[in-house]
C-alpha cells in the first residue's frame, strides 16, 4: 500500500512539475512538429515520394524528439538534491525510477502520439498505415524512454554528458526504429505485420522489467 502510495506520489509530483514548467515539455513536441513539416518543403511537390518515406520521417523525428527530452528526466532532481531523497527512500529505487519514467513518457511521449495522426495525414499516409503508426508509437516510445533512462542515469553526473548520452543511447534505439517503421511501411503495402508487432511488444515488456534496475544502480553511482 505504501509502496503504491510512493509510486503514485512520484508520478503526480512529476506531472505537476511538468505542468509548471511547460516550455520544457513543449520543446520536444515542437521539434517533432517542425521537423516533420519541414520535410515536404524540402522535398518539394512529390507526393508519392513523401508518402513512401512518411513512416521513416515520423519515426526518426519521434526518436530524436525522445532523445531531446531525455535530459530533463533526472537533471533537475539531480541538481536540487531531490534525487538523493528519492534514493534514500526505503522503497525499491527501481520502482520509484519506473514511476519517474512513466511520468516522463506521459508528458513527452504521449503528446507525440496525439499530434502524429495530423502529421501523418499531412504527409499523405493512408488510413490503414495510420492506425499501425499509432500502434507502433504506443509500443515504441515507452521503450525509448525506458532505455534512455539508463543512459541519462549514467551521464547525469557529468557536466557535459549530452554527446556521450546520444552515443550511448542511439545504437539501442535503432532496433525499435527498424521494426516500427518497417511495420508501418508493410501495413501500407497490405502485408502482414504480426512479426514486427510481436517484436515491439517483447521490446516493451523487456524494457519495463529490465531497464529500471540498471537505471537505479546508475543513479546511485552518479550521486556518489
Amino acid at each position: 500500500m505504501s509502496l503504491a502510495n510512493a509510486f503514485f506520489a512520484i508520478i503526480k509530483r512529476d506531472l505537476v512539475l511538468a505542468l509548471r514548467r511547460r516550455s520544457e515539455v513543449a520543446n520536444p513536441l515542437l521539434f517533432f512538429i517542425l521537423v516533420i513539416t519541414l520535410f515536404p518543403l524540402g522535398i518539394g511537390a512529390q507526393p508519392h515520394l513523401l508518402q513512401a518515406i512518411a513512416p521513416g520521417i515520423i519515426w526518426v523525428s519521434a526518436l530524436l524528439a525522445a532523445m531531446l527530452s531525455l535530459d530533463s528526466l533526472f537533471r533537475s532532481d539531480f541538481d536540487d538534491g531531490s534525487l538523493e531523497q528519492i534514493l534514500l527512500s526505503a522503497h525499491p529505487a527501481s520502482l520509484l525510477v519506473l514511476a519517474k519514467v512513466i511520468a516522463h513518457w506521459l508528458v513527452t511521449g504521449l503528446p507525440l502520439l496525439i499530434v502524429a495522426p495530423l502529421l501523418a495525414v499531412f504527409l499523405g499516409m493512408s488510413t490503414q498505415s495510420l492506425g499501425i503508426l499509432l500502434l507502433t508509437l504506443l509500443l515504441g516510445t515507452p521503450v525509448l524512454s525506458l532505455i534512455g533512462a539508463i543512459g541519462v542515469a549514467l551521464t547525469v553526473g557529468l557536466r557535459r554528458g549530452g554527446m556521450i548520452l546520444s552515443l550511448l543511447v542511439l545504437p539501442l534505439y535503432v532496433p525499435v526504429l527498424i521494426f516500427a517503421s518497417n511495420a508501418v511501411e508493410m501495413a501500407g503495402a497490405g502485408l502482414p505485420i504480426q512479426a514486427q508487432l510481436n517484436i515491439l511488444v517483447s521490446f516493451l515488456l523487456l524494457a519495463v522489467f529490465l531497464a529500471p534496475w540498471p537505471t537505479a544502480a546508475a543513479l546511485k553511482m552518479s550521486i556518489n
Partner: protein, 207 residues
C-alpha cells in the same frame, strides 16, 4: 520506545580515499540512542564524505558500518535514517505542502503531521507558497521539517545551520534535543558551536 534502546550505530575502521588522497583512515566510533556525534575539521577534511558514507551514497574504501546490527546494504538501515545535505532536496516549482507530501509518501509517517511540522519550524501559513518564493533560511527550515514528518532514528545533517538566523539555530537545536530525548541519534557537521542541553555530544575531529 523500549525496543529502540538497543539501537546503535557502529562504525569499524572506516577509511575514505579520494583521488589518491587519504581523507581519513581507521576511524571507529559507536553512537547510541540519545547521543549526538559532531564532526569537526577543516574544509576538505572529509566530513561530507563521511556523512555520505553513512547514508550509503558512497562505499567506504575500508571498514564496515552497521545500525543496530543491520549492515548498510540492508533496506532497514536506509529506512531508519534521514538526511539533509548541502542541497535542500525540495522542488522550487512545488508548494511547501506538496514538497512535504512527497517526502511523506517516500517514507513512513512520523510523530508530526505536515501542518504540525510547519508550525514547529515557524513556517505556519506558508503551506500554499511556492518554494521558489522562500528565502534561503526558510528553505533550510523546510528541509529540516522533512525530518519531523517521517519516522526515522538516525538524522544525518550536513551543516544544518547554514543560512539560519539566531532564532533558527535555537529552533534546530531544540528539535535536535527533542529527537534525542525520543530515542533518536544525530550525526552532524557544523562550524557553529553546538549548545544542546542535556544531550551527550561526542566530537570527532577529522584532520
Amino acid at each position: 520506545m523500549s525496543e529502540s534502546l538497543s539501537y546503535q550505530l557502529q562504525a569499524n575502521n572506516l577509511s575514505c580515499i579520494r583521488d589518491d588522497r587519504v581523507l581519513f583512515e581507521a576511524l571507529s566510533f559507536s553512537l547510541s540512542v540519545g547521543q549526538v556525534l559532531l564532526l569537526e575539521g577543516k574544509n576538505g577534511s572529509g566530513k561530507t564524505s563521511l556523512l555520505r558514507i553513512l547514508c550509503g551514497f558512497r562505499e567506504p574504501d575500508v571498514g564496515s558500518l552497521s545500525l543496530c546490527g543491520d549492515a548498510i546494504s540492508d533496506s532497514s538501515y536506509i529506512a531508519d535514517l534521514a538526511y539533509v545535505g548541502h542541497l535542500e532536496g525540495v522542488k522550487k516549482e512545488l508548494t511547501v505542502y506538496e514538497n512535504l507530501k512527497v517526502s511523506l509518501a517516500l517514507g513512513q509517517a512520523g510523530h508530526y503531521s505536515i501542518m504540525d511540522a510547519l508550525d514547529r519550524v515557524n513556517l505556519t501559513d506558508y503551506d500554499e507558497v511556492l518554494v521558489q518564493a522562500l528565502s534561503a533560511g526558510q528553505k533550510r527550515r523546510l528541509s529540516l521539517a522533512r525530518l519531523l514528518i517521517t519516522k526515522n532514528i538516525l538524522w544525518i545533517l550536513d551543516e544544518p545551520f547554514t543560512s539560519l538566523d539566531r532564532q533558527g539555530i535555537e529552533l534546530i537545536e531544540a528539535l535536535m534535543s527533542e529527537h534525542c530525548a525520543m530515542g533518536g541519534m544525530i550525526v552532524l557537521t557544523s562550524h557553529h558551536d553546538l549548545s544542546i542541553q542535556g544531550v551527550d555530544v561526542q566530537r570527532i575531529c577529522l584532520s
